[in-house]
Symmetry: none
Subunit: 193 residues, 4 copies
DNA sequence: GATGAATGAGTTTTCATTCAT
DNA sequence: GATGAATGAAAACTCATTCAT
């Protein structure tokens, strides 16, 4: 039947796409987007150069596909937040750390791309929106906790997390992530008189 | 002192070498190392492509020369430190923020290179050393201030600063650097019971 | 007769082969042979790329098949000619103009291929033969009409027709084909003293 | 002196550019623009592929440069026209034939490009303008010569010339250009009662 | 017959680097 | 020192063709 064939092709396609995206993410994260050639991706994925272009219009389109997948995945962070402000902050910290641990390569890639603005322009609006939401949530929560300058504290809080992630991403094997996380919680997730 | 580097620039201001490095730093910081061609650097510096190779063996050697200058800072940071632990932390924060403000382009470049391991490999040992010294100083100081886990607190402190710098570097015009700095001092530079 | 080709198309109308040739002719004529990919032809014909290779050995073989059909015309042109020399010339003009109008795309393609010698090399002998026959017929006719240099006049006559067709093919919507045809007849299809 | 060096470089550049344009025109005219790769041009010109891009931004820019040069050259056709209408037509015929003979390859290239509209879009306005001028001149002249439909006659006249050129371009060695030219003059450059 | 995933040779283009002057 | 013409390796991308199903 025709369906069988279509299914088979669908499977082939998905398997190849997955292989390509896996190889590309790995190489992009490790060597940088600019330093990773299609040839290397194809070699790592065990396919020919040309096949990539059956699935993605360009090298950049491949990157976009990888980023989109990662962003879809991370959308769930702000769901199911606790009501209690202290608990909420702790939850955000825990969830964020878990996400970075789980998708280390993706976050490494994303962070490295931050400095090549042109490649990220497609996603810039989405990022700005998320950042704003994060700051707003933080501002509101630090206000509840009695902080005198909740918005700035939210920014500092975000910066501290990003700083930790930066260090962790750069040497994930050595970094005492768990301990730093605990101190981060102690330092920020508390009543401010 | 940061003045050292400035002096060096002063001395070379009129020389081709200085013009090359100035143009290169600007372009590298703005457009990225990989996206900046020798042609553009030469044009911006007002010299010929060939002359570059009289001074530097390669594009990477030019980069290394630029980076080398940045390493002077760390040395000067740890000079003339106050005795008092609280004052010391405040001093380090103030000096670091000032350095990043003064040499924004250099730090933007350095941060962007963080994710191109190969390019930085020459400096990796030096950076590791500086980082260790910074952590040791922090550890000692937080101990003096009575923190129960001074080493981890030093790491968190360093991460928070780097996070703030990261955000500032990415949008230097919008970022409320001064306010965040004050909060950073309030949050970290204090007695811990 | 031109009907021959049409019949052939009728018979194959529903078949994949006819759909392929129809789509290919359209695309070749509009976008050029070189700029038309097999993928686009297959998509336009509603078949798979692979199927094309069941019918034709290569892209060029497909082109050759399309061109072969056009050669039928010349054969039919010289059938049923009037005896009277003036009437004969008028008949040739009318029939040729009608053929170009009816099969505009085919003639557009053929003309554009004129400048890609390699592609036409298969047909070069056939074309040469037709041209020679046409010139001979013209020579004979202009002789009957009393022209002092009938062969050269035949060549000029053929060139004038081809020139008109060239202009018409390049902007079929604007060109005053009918008026120019009338003048062509007036200028050439007459007694030369 | 600096001037000497600049002159020397200027000469080098011009000589390379001339070699490139000569090779390109030859190959474009013979094999078609699309079938001629940069590699082949470079090989024919005895230079490296890369050098082309020192002088032209792209393959298309090289083509444009070649076309522009040819058009500048052909601009002089309509200068110094005789007053007498018959003599004017003869003059146009003679000058046009001479131009095509002198720059055969250029005209072959230009004609072949007529069917790849996209490449010519830069020049389309210029061509339209020239064509219009030519038709207007012809219309006016045939009117002077007493032709009842001078505009259409001008179009036929232009078509006849283009047709002759087309045939000549396609087999320049065999074509009896001189004789056909004489007949063209006899047929068109005369009083129409 | 029919499909479309997969291939790989070929194309345009970029750019760090060399070198004759 | 200084120049910029010239090189060539490598990059992104295209597409006719093959082949397992």
């Amino acid at each position: 039947m025709a369906k069988k064939r279509q299914e088979r092709f669908e499977m082939l396609r998905e398997s190849s796409k997955a292989r390509i995206e896996k190889a590309a993410l790995e190489l992009f994260a490790h060597n940088g987007y600019g330093h990773t050639s299609i040839s290397k991706i194809a070699a790592a994925a065990g396919i020919s150069k040309g096949l990539m272009y059956n699935y993605y219009d360009s090298k950049e389109a491949l990157l976009q596909a990888i980023l989109q997948k990662g962003l879809d995945f991370g959308d769930s962070l702000l769901e199911g937040l606790p009501e209690d402000p202290k608990a909420l902050l702790v939850f955000v910290v825990e969830a964020s750390f878990q996400e970075v641990i789980n998708n280390l390569e993706f976050w490494k890639l994303l962070t490295s791309l931050t400095f090549q603005e042109d490649v990220l322009k497609t996603f810039a609006p989405q990022f700005e929106q998320k950042k704003k939401e994060f700051i707003q949530l933080g501002t509101f929560t630090f206000q509840q906790l009695g902080h005198p300058d909740p918005e700035m504290q939210a920014m500092l809080f975000g910066a501290a997390m990003d700083g930790v992630f930066l260090h962790y991403i750069l040497s994930p094997n050595d970094y005492p992530l768990e301990e730093v996380k605990c101190l981060l919680i102690e330092n920020f997730c508390k009543k401010y008189k």
